[in-house]
Amino acid sequence: MQSELDDHIDESTSQDTEATSRSLPDRCLSFRLSGPWGHFRRVEGNTVKTTYRIIPRTTVAGLLAAVLGIGRNQYYDLFGPESSAMAIEPVSELRTINLPVNNLTTSQEGLKGVNTYGKVSVYYPDPTEDRQRTNYEVLVEPEYRIDLWLADGERYDELREYLAEGKAYYTPSLGLSEYLADIEYLGEYEVTAVAQSEPHAVDSAVPDPDGVIPEPNVNYGTERSPAFMERTTASGEFSGRRTTSYLTYTYSPDGNSLTVSDTTTASVDNRTVVFR
């Protein structure tokens, strides 16, 4: 599994470079995404479920697919690198605490088999087994502002209607189904390019660590998270979907702005953001 992961990381490097040259969309939908809890499990973690601070691009895609009522494994093209643009701005301070949970184990030893010698056997967690303690690192009251453009005009209009009416086909959540999310639609905005000769402040997370100019007394966080996925037909670990590329976001854990140069930035609602 690790070697497959490495493969994806290698692939992503070339795609990242391609994506930077893409032109800006002319408009976008803007909404606030918040909730009492959030957990975006880092792909490299296992026993302790650590979380990304910045909601991964793939998670936003899944959440919006839920809003639109699009099923699992059916929305990856809609949010592809050429067919969508997204800026993610952390609005709140990104604070985490540990929230351990006693779960029934789903590891092979803890599962009970029914009909194990038959053609079709089924395994389920055995309630008589000891509970497994899983330590979740969770975000406390995370809040993001998302700016989004989709090449698919029909879906874009549909999403605008859903957001404007406060509707969501499936109930949206932040990473895990129990971390219920609130979505507040802020409006549709024009996207204009920002002249980029001088270093300037940017409000969103920056999906390119090289563009950020470090300053004294400012906190920085950086993390590499899944950005794009594709549907697969293969069975096994990656059945259904596979991450095709990652993005490295630099962000301010306190929700402040960052200073960038040599980065394609855009102005949306009097804010400066970086789309990817």
Binding site: P100, Y124, Y179
Partner: protein, 339 residues
């Protein structure tokens, strides 16, 4: 038959219960099972898993089939048989047969799987069998009913007096001496708020029925009354349960529990000791509901008299239910003992 009465409306749930000198949810990784407390806000935390355990135990006590039981009971046995019937198929023809309803029968027998979803895996060497089964199984069994982990509506104080409790519980099978100086940590008082949603589209996946949601209404209440029976859990009472049932497809207001504020007699919330010390300010909640009145079908509610609720600065003398009845066309007071 099992497709009757599948939930068609979305609901949003506000559920408050309180804890006096109790440990509403210990943190198993803290060593001494200390109450979970947010170190910054000092609010106590109760996971959704804890609430669902109370609910499952109450369902089981009521004689409902439960998939994730506390222990091996008679229902667990039945569930195993059902799974066996469901998946004991050997040919594609059997599965494709119109009479094949094993999976529906499994769901019929497990109210917690219908509400909260279920996990199991299917194994076979024959691909065509899996394919045939997949057409009968829902894509996934995510629970249509989700509760966010709950939090107290105010900062709490830990009761240090319980710390060196002596117990006569044997610490080991072979030892006759009881344990001594067992750590036992509790909070002095906490009014805990849960926020839940019922997803009408997810309901189709697990055959969630309207009766299940009606049962959930009373079970939340009775579970806190009846299932908080171990030493550290005694002292918890349900105080308010509101289920806002919407009639607009795919719509819910969102975050209703977080509209509630606690106003205490004392400025320092940590000095609250009983339900008499707190008043819940429901002004924002009610005004949010009012502004979406046209999308609300019914407000289902049960409120405990002991909890003071205020609207627009005034404590309600006639109770919260009648205040809602004055403001909304359809208010249904839940009879928690009719289930």
């Amino acid at each position: 038959m099992s497709n009757d009465n599948i939930v068609e409306n979305r609901s949003e749930i506000v559920f408050l219960y309180d804890a006096v000198d109790a440990n509403p949810n210990g943190n198993p990784l803290s060593g001494a099972n200390r109450p979970r407390i947010d170190p910054v806000t000092n609010e106590a935390i109760v996971t959704d898993v804890r609430l669902k355990r109370y609910l499952r135990d109450q369902f089981e006590a009521d004689g409902e089939g439960v998939y994730i039981t506390s222990e091996r009971g008679e229902y667990a046995k039945e569930r195993e048989e059902l799974l066996k019937d469901t998946f004991g198929v050997t040919t594609v023809e059997e599965i494709e047969d119109e009479g094949f309803d094993g999976f529906d029968r499994f769901l019929d027998n497990a109210i917690d799987a219908r509400l909260f979803g279920a996990t199991f895996s299917i194994d076979t060497d024959a691909d065509e069998l899996i394919e045939a089964l997949e057409t009968h199984l829902p894509d996934h069994l995510t629970g249509p009913v989700q509760f966010s982990p709950g939090k107290t509506l105010h900062p709490v104080e830990v009761n240090e007096e319980y710390n060196s409790l002596t117990s006569v519980i044997g610490t080991d099978d072979e030892k006759e001496q009881g344990g001594f100086d067992l750590d036992d940590h509790r909070i002095k008082y906490g009014l805990i708020g849960f926020h839940g949603l019922v997803d009408e589209h997810g309901a189709e996946d697990t055959n969630l029925k309207t009766e299940d949601i009606e049962r959930l209404d009373s079970t939340c209440w009775r579970a806190i009354k009846n299932q908080t029976i171990t030493r550290s859990k005694v002292g918890q009472e349900p105080r308010l349960y509101v289920r806002v049932e919407y009639d607009t497809d795919s719509f819910h207001i969102g975050g209703l529990t977080h509209e509630l504020d606690v106003v205490g007699d004392d400025e320092d919330a940590r000095s609250y000791r009983t339900v008499q010390d707190v008043t819940v300010d429901a002004t924002d909640l009610v005004s949010r509901l009012n502004s979406h009145e046209d999308r609300i079908q019914t407000v289902h509610v049960v409120a405990d008299d002991a909890l003071d609720i205020a609207l627009e600065g005034e404590t309600l003398d006639d109770g919260f239910v009648s205040a809602l009845e004055d403001r909304f066309e359809s208010v249904h007071e839940i009879d928690v003992y009719d289930h």
